[in-house]
Symmetry: C2
Subunit: 137 residues, 2 copies
Amino acid sequence: MSVSQESLRAKLLAHGIGATAQRLEIAALVLNEPQHVTAEVVLSRLGALGRRVSKATVYNTLNLFAARGLLRTLAIDPDVTWFDSNTGPHFHLQQVETGVLMDLDATAVQLVGLPELPLGTELAGIDVVIRVRKRAE
Amino acid sequence: MSVSQESLRAKLLAHGIGATAQRLEIAALVLNEPQHVTAEVVLSRLGALGRRVSKATVYNTLNLFAARGLLRTLAIDPDVTWFDSNTGPHFHLQQVETGVLMDLDATAVQLVGLPELPLGTELAGIDVVIRVRKRAE
DNA sequence: ATATGTGCAAATCCTTTGCATAGAA
DNA sequence: TTCTATGCAAAGGATTTGCACATAT
């Protein structure tokens, strides 16, 4: 078993997630570097590697990772849920034609002039999406 | 025919939209004041008023209004498309427990430090969602 | 007339679920 | 064993589509 697989197993356990073969496969694909994936993408990458994991398990696993803080879900696209393995503070830039997402460092972009939050509420998060399109010539 | 219905008809025509009875009904519900609605909400309000408009027509109409700039679609909720009749520059605050949206004046909130856009692209829009939750005591 | 819009039901697409089997502790 | 996870197929829910009928110009 590779070192990276050992550390992934440790990471899952640290988040209260039992390390099964399928979860380690998915973790290896997704958690090793910051990226944006959909369930469909994970499924097809697994397939390309010859790993057979069911669609249900892919969804279960991604949702579990998200619930335990290993992934963030992004409601950016009306038809598909994006999972973001960069869990630090950052915003997104999206190419509207392709849907492709890029990260924007949250330390570079700042929001100024936020209003007071409604009474009895606290900040749960801030999502910023800059949408760009191919320039019309 | 009421004055407001006349001005709605003019507004539709000005956006290249033929003014049918159903479209005027929906326009009256949605365009007269800034608000956030889903297709389901529009459908049930029409029903409450005794106006029978099919689900397909509600979707067609809301999408048409959005395509012609009378509404903005919001990809904020993974399961449902919100239509926003405030088409001016503004951001949103969402109560995570209920999904309820509030407007934030974009002149009050400012984004500072936007990066350069990728070459050959132009800004299509900026979406900001401040998510708040009930404060844990 | 001729083009456009509407309504219904069926089709789609993403995601979740029920349940029997397989695997882990 | 005993609990938990997986896989399959079916179910679910929001949205779109095909097509016949109605409406508008």
